[in-house]
């Protein structure tokens, strides 16, 4: 599986009607057609009738164009924005519990500090830390932490918004061509 932020993954923001079962519809579509989801995030928007999915898809499993078109066949999908790296701000949150015995504790703390992370919980020999950043940065942080021994890790998956003033190709229901 590809990590978010790597070359072969694509980020799409999918605006959906906030209706029962819509998460299952999206998940089902990916499963049925053999598209890989790298990460998936869903939350309501300012319009309470709509939710937005941020989905990072593995573009090696299928052409992104085909994935987008298939998603659009779901009646509840209203708008899809393809978020390419130059046009978006992307963030991800990581929580990790790491081995931090006396000998290496200060090095772990230093690492967290360099990455502007935070210490969330402390126990003898272990630390639970958090860090927020671009998917790349989160990848680096996780890789460096793993040298000390990761006990448990949870990543939020990518959330993304278009950069202010940047046009983002948005596909709307009822138009085959992307509109900007």
């Amino acid at each position: 599986m590809n990590r978010p932020g790597t070359m072969s993954s694509h980020t799409i923001a999918v605006l959906v009607e906030n209706k029962a079962g819509v998460l299952a519809r999206v998940a089902d579509l990916f499963a049925r057609r053999g598209y890989n989801i790298v990460s998936l995030n869903v939350a309501p928007t300012t319009d309470p009738t709509m939710s937005r999915f941020t989905i990072v898809v593995d573009a090696e499993s299928a052409p992104i164009e085909q994935i987008v078109k298939q998603l659009f066949k779901l009646i509840n999908v209203v708008e899809i924005a393809q978020l390419g790296p130059p046009d978006v701000v992307e963030r991800e949150l990581i929580l990790a519990t790491v081995e931090a015995p006396q000998e290496s504790r200060s090095q772990v703390l230093e690492l967290v500090d360099i990455f502007k992370g935070r210490i969330l919980a402390v126990s003898t020999g272990k630390l639970t830390v958090s860090m927020e950043g671009t998917p790349d940065k989160v990848n680096d942080f996780e890789a460096l932490l793993s040298d000390y021994g990761i006990v448990e890790v949870q990543r939020s998956g990518v959330m993304a918004l278009p950069k202010v003033g940047r046009p983002v190709p948005r596909l709307r229901a009822g138009s085959a061509e992307p509109t900007v």
């Binding site: 029962a20 079962g21 299952a24 519809r25 089902d28 579509l29 085909q66 078109k69 659009f72 066949k73």
Partner: protein, 604 residues
Amino acid sequence: MTTPGQRIDGASALIKSLEAADVEVMFGYPGGAILPAYDPILDSGIRHVLVRHEQAAGHAAEGYAHATGKPGVVVVTSGPAATNVVTPLADAMLDSVPMVCITGQVALPAIGTDAFQECDTTGITRSITKHNTLVTRAEDIPMAIAEAFHIATTGRPGPVLVDVPKDIVSPANPDAWFDWYWPTELNLPGYQPDMTPSASSIADAVELIRSAERPVLYVGGGVLKARGAEALLALAERTNTPVVTTLMARGAFPDSHELCLGMPGMHGNYTAITAIQQADLLIAMGSRFDDRVTGKVGAFAPGAKIVHVDIDPAEHGKVRRPDVSVVGDCRIAMEQMLTRLAEVGGAEAVADHTAWRSTLSGWQEKYPLTYDREATGELKPQYVLERLAELSPDDTIVTSGVGQHQMWASQYWQFDHPYTWINSGGLGTMGFSVPAALGAKMGMPDRTVWAVDGDGNFQMTGQEMITATVENIPIKVALLNNSYLGMVRQWQELFYDRRYSEVSFGRDFPDYVKWSESMGAVAFRVEDPDEVDDVIAQANEINDRPVVVDFRIAEEENVYPMVPAGGSNDDVIVDPSQQSMLDADRAAGALGADRRAASKESQR
């Protein structure tokens, strides 16, 4: 009459909504959860056809939709009834058949408790419906039904399922009462199918069409869905372009027309298959590059540019990347192409296809569909179908099951009218023909409807002859009885060394004549070729009862031509009587020269 604003209960509102959606006939089967909705059916003008198995309700609705263009309607109860309609829903999904299916569901408080006859109907049918929905408030019923009909019939048509919990249609429940309304506006912000192609895509398509030297119109079921047969005829004639009609499109272009090449694909005829292989332009019109047409995709029409016209954007580039993608309704697209052609100079502006046409007619002469007509003592299925087509009215509607008989019917019936051929192409559902014939006859009561069926198929849904008798739907069944699961036997013969595994049905059971008679049909048995005409004539005379003719055909007849699954269309196997000639032609390189030149060019 309930007027807007008048109090109404959910059950009455459900039936009233169907009336408001102009439903004339529905196919169904009652049961616990849907019981409340069956009461107002008694007072409704909608004709309800009580089938003998819910699967048949679904296929009947499909047959009705295919024949009339109107959505087919199914009403069944929860749990096992909902699972029984799974097959026809999947069938309608793959063949883009407009259908609205209403399923009962256990009462809202019981959902999720594994209640009696509960199943997750919307979950089970999610991937085999265009859309589905669980209604949770009685007052949402009219909106849900209106949306279901809109979604089922617009854009690329398909099945829509509406799951209705029992308590919201129970008049005893005070919460199931509301003020009647019929929505004038729908709330579907994510659903606006694009009917009209972009002008630039039409112009680009016309440019390719004008310059093509060896074009083929590769016509699929989308042309029929778009009511586009007339526009197709005009476009083909204006551009002098030969036409192949896929299994889903038989009848969309008249077989008797000089430009018609017939069916391509796994059991298509040599000329249709080879025309595609050697074309320099394929105009894919409402067709979807199905694997049964393309064979090995990488070897499909290797020298052809592609113009793909389809209303579903996701079909464009799914299998083969088009050179020009025309997203929109096929009829509108073809009309616009004709307009554009006129603008740029009409028929004179199109390249000359004389050489191409004469190549094609050469192949047609050399490699026509054929079978051993001289065989004695055996009843050939192809002969039966030729006679049936000849002796039945010109506008007869033919439905079919799935198997060898389906392929022979598609090959040997001459289809000269749209909406006269109804079959299960995408899902390949055995048991389709008899219930589909019921639906077609309900929709087109004045037309002769013949179900061409196989013995295996008839044993799956033959019980619906009871429905035909009891509901007075006089369909006719031509049972091409080879006492085998013939299509499977053919594969075992050709690809498994004649090791016949679980395909023999035997001649003796059931006795189709007795069985059919017990279901109220007039039944005949035909074993001798000399009896064929007489029995068909008698069967065609009967209009007040269903008819079944048990044609005892040759047991081990094979369907040819054949492209082995996954093989290249270039390696099509023709009838044994033609194969050595074809092998010689191939060895001499007499075929395919044009294309090799063409593909070299396109590589440059």
